[in-house]
Symmetry: D2
């Protein structure tokens, strides 16, 4: 691991602990996440501290995935950290995708405001399952696009569109005759109507998660990202790194929750001794230590795979399942160790528990990943390959 | 099981499904629970439907615990059901305790308004752990009472006092020179000051959970409940039935969550077939079926023990651990089956998950119960008794 | 529960503890189970103690399933108990089936020697999966029978035939043109050749589990059990009670293992105190207490369903999954509590662990039961029925 | 990782698959492990294949721990592999310790025969818990040594002494007035009497696990290993690498078990499709894939810590808990996937399950490691250190 990543990570940690954590009680975080005013206030601080968009260097190049992990884990130490540092979803993934696929003009117009932290973005892919739409199954996408002169006309409904409220940039996915397509759009646009912002168990993401309707949205042809029909290919490019960056940020949050629970268990007494001296509590903290380490190792391993240029689809599925389930156990133990305090908003442990519960669903529920891993195991068996070179 | 309980349970189920469930989207439920206006509106309906305080008969007698289970499980089918039917905590336990220990005068003045559903009550026992106070360890109670003429003067701090905001009746626990005491008080009282209502992961209980300060509260001597120094004895009387009634209500909620998840899994399709036809989903619903049945059986068994007149301390600890952990697994699976919808407020599954997470803490975290069961196992071993006649 | 069952159960417990347990170190139990000499020696003692075939009364009637549970749990307190008391698999199920379906002649010839404990029997149903045969999926049965004059001629291969070695009576399942058939046969028979007795993780069953070949076995027509083509119907009759009796016997074994582990944890010291005073140990024993009670309740509930005359297919699947998984957790904790002693043959805890591991496979692996429960849930959803009246 | 380790690992894998696996059905493996005749036959083959004691180079230097992991994991692919390659416990740890602490004379006399694979050794540390002895708690050691002229005289009892039967070299631990001491002894010696070889759930280790009595064993003073009173320090040196090498070997065995279960699931059909196409099976194999990868990563991480020169006590505790529990889950899933075949000796899956069950006890049960990790977490909290630099 390079020194530059260690330096960046250290700077982020200092910033989060000194400047972001005090904002955790700021009333501008509501049921649908922090307000954009709060986002901008935090980003101004991050800019001054030199930790804004820390994973993208001045020349536009990215840290490697292993380096990114160091930075993003630290940014996750507070639920507000990723948005302060501009390392949050879906922007981090959107910036990555734009950097890989966008034209120079597209980058100037859509990427730069994101990298500079002035704008937020949204990724319009998932669709409502109740309309026969996609849910976790992208093959069922129903939003359409058709060429009309020099414009594409898009129609459809999208759901769970994180950060759509307040976003300036949108990446919209739709199906043409060629297959899936992606478009860059300025937001807000009257043709993209928010039906509602969902109430969800988590509330760390600015703009929350919206259900929206796209009604004859007209997009100039040069705002298509890449080529018509290649949309799923681009989604694949974005997929593993975005999935892994979720793991990174939420690992940071779990580390923090564990710090709080450990401190609580060392200070409080019950039934004649410090909580941590009860094996029932101390064992849970020992299990947390192990789960945290294993999560870190899985992220580092998968990042290394991505850094070799592999799509890492199976590896990021493995990491996603392992890390999200481990972090859920950790957050649950933190709550349990802290008793009544653990289920209250007195510390961010309660929020960490809710956020991480959602993480087990976001970017594909655990079961969908196991399903695709089982398919891969069978394919590999047929060709006499080890599924993952296991040692 | 008697026919009367089946009849009551059927009436409650009809009432909940027809009249209470439509209120689940009512905006008068906020972060600190349903408003008292909403509570009264629902109770008026319950009164008309003949399902208000259904576990206490017209002559003041109670259903047996096994019968109560039938009724309370049904009242729990909606998060709003227990408050509509007046079967909720802490009132259900408070009414039970007053019925057992109160004088005739105390019953007229404090119990009747509760039974008629006109007033709510609170039980002031747990104390803040940060002040060196009790948490889950009652032996550490620090609130004091001393006799001053014909009044008792009470001072202390209490935390996690469910329903204190808006309650008309309080049962306050404090330590005299004789030991623990209990007092009946009219609320509100200026000497009982709400420091704050906690933000907690759950929000089904009117008034939420408050931290309060008692500053020279003067209580006439005839408002002492029972005798000075016997407070823990009374707490014991209340303990097991109240603990078990939590299991009953939340089992009802889990049954409902499972209905919703099953319906979702049977209607929605992904990856080529109905969700339930994916073993990854169908197995979770099968596990729910088993966990629901086991929870019901544990409740019935423990209720039967209580109906014999036993305090049932160990049995209710066993039931509390088994049921709360089983319901957590059920609620978690329901969320997982429903994916994005599961973590959203579109159905009550998301709330059920949050409520049941808190249940694993309330009335003693799982670990405290295991700790006391281990003590009991050792005691029984010494005297060569089976811990629980296991077959 | 009737007094007669309590009396029988008490008698069995006394017998097992006083007379059977001393035989647990008898070298006549080998890798393929206890020898038939040992079986007869133990049965002689059981006969004298009045506990041989205790669930079948002198008039040929059976105890109810709930009563049977009381008796069989006690017989399971030693791995040798069920064979001593003649309550073991597959005989218990075979006697039940013969009692229900056999003709008077068949009962005299085949059932009486079983009830009197003079003979053992085997049930030839499961087939080797490697030959494209059945495994857990009975629809794939490949053994055939065809009528040739007044005899049926049977050909095929069977695997996991428990107790075949040394059995005097066989029930053989095969497919005719009408469907599945069952036949009663005298054993040994040169047309039924043992290919080998499998080495398996368990070793409590006399005769072990054999793979056998049936080569032109000729069976007189009057030895068909019931009617041609009704074999699966009879298998269904045998299914749930036999499945449940597994739960009963192994619950007994788990109760005993838990007694041993508790005694160990109360006597031994490490790191400054009795093992049980370490929460890491005490909590495991508390969890055992809960799992034991839940297992007992599931058995009792399912037995009650069967006693109403229901086939109880879903209920016995639920009980089988819940009980086998719970007993595995219990046995595993007992081993863990006892450390090195737990993985050694010094106590029967090590054997209990191995036996119960096999139990999770025998009579259908957990996954097969969940699969059929999921199917049932879907069917019930379609017809708007609760899958199991849950409360 | 260096090329040399990859080359060694590849050579070992080829050897195990081609030459060792065919011996798995050899009848010379009994309840107390493979016979020494079989050991020598396999070692002759390993010598010829250039894979005997592969982790110790010709100059006596060792591979790094990370390199050792590569080699030992491969040697573990068969239960017979470690003894064939001379990478098994306790020899591997004993050789490591002798290499670190022995004098030149001691190395010539005691280490060389071990490295050359001509002799086996045993480590006499653990004591019977029933005599008030140590169990997992070394502070309770009761075996004594006292100087008598130029000899030490040792008395005591030891239990679970792996490989004592048939060993040529012993390392005996005893307490002098200075504290713990270690001695090198030639075996057999009439003063070291085998009371019995325990029957245990595992049977991969030659000589099994013995209980022995030491009765006035006289050891020349120059056979003391290191200095009097420093025995625990030496035990510490041996501790983490030996513990980690257990993880390596058993990971190899779990990899193999998973290969077998995967192959089975891909070939066999039930209920209309290949087993692996049932999510209930495919998900288990996906979980195995993740658990295998996590085990490998934990081993590599801990090995890296040891390679820096750290004692790695906490890290090897973390690795031991994580890996042994993960391998247990893997082995259990393999058994379950394979149904009846999984609990039979037809493949080594059944043995892998038994061996790995014992592994959760050997070298300290999971609970003892959690206990010491909790102590460390508290110490680190007091000094404001992160317990394990988690990211």
């Amino acid at each position: 691991m390079t020194d530059r990543a260690d330096a960046i990570a250290a700077r982020i940690e200092t910033f989060i602990r000194a400047e972001v954590i005090p904002y955790e009680k700021d009333p501008r975080t509501g049921a649908h996440g922090p307000s954009d005013e709060l986002v901008q206030e935090l980003r101004d601080k991050a800019r001054k501290a030199g930790v804004l968009t820390p994973h993208i260097l001045a020349d536009g190049s990215h840290l490697t995935q292993r380096e990114t992990a160091k930075a993003l884990i630290k940014s996750g130490l507070s639920p507000l950290g990723p948005l302060a540092c501009n390392t949050m979803a879906p922007d981090e993934g959107n910036m990555y995708l734009l950097g890989k696929v966008g034209t120079a003009e597209q980058k100037t117009r859509f990427l730069e405001p994101l990298v500079s932290g002035k704008a937020r973005s949204a990724f319009f892919m998932t669709e409502p399952a109740d309309a026969g739409g996609a849910g976790s199954d992208p093959s069922m996408m129903q939003t359409t696009c058709r060429l009309d002169g020099n414009h594409w006309v898009i129609n459809g409904r999208k759901k769970f569109i994180t950060g759509a409220e307040g976003a300036k940039v949108g990446i919209v996915m739709a199906k043409s005759e060629d297959g899936a397509c992606m478009f860059l759009v300025d937001l807000p646009d009257p043709a993209i109507r928010t039906l509602r912002v969902l109430d969800t168990i988590d509330n760390s993401m600015p703009g929350g998660h919206a259900e929206i309707e796209i009604d004859n949205l007209r997009v100039p042809a040069d705002q298509m990202l890449g080529a018509s029909g290649d949309g799923f290919k681009y989604a694949q490019i974005r997929l593993s790194p975005a999935r892994l960056s979720h793991c990174m940020r939420w690992l940071g949050l779990a580390i923090r929750a564990n710090e709080i629970a450990t401190d609580y268990a060392c200070r409080r007494h019950a039934f004649g001794k410090a909580l941590i001296d009860h094996e029932g509590v101390g064992f849970m903290l020992a299990e947390n230590l192990i789960d945290l380490k294993q999560s870190e190792l899985m992220i580092d391993w998968c990042a290394d795979v991505l850094d070799t240029g592999s799509l890492g689809t199976a590896e990021s599925s493995m990491a996603k399942v392992a890390v999200s389930e481990a972090l859920m156990r950790i957050a649950d133990r933190c709550v349990q160790v802290m008793g009544g305090t653990g289920v209250s908003g007195e510390t961010i442990v309660e929020q960490a528990f809710r956020e991480i519960r959602a993480f087990r669903i976001y970017d594909g529920p655990t079961e969908v990943h196991k399903w695709s891993l089982a398919k891969k195991i069978k394919r590999d068996w047929k060709t006499d390959q080890p599924s993952i070179p296991a040692a």
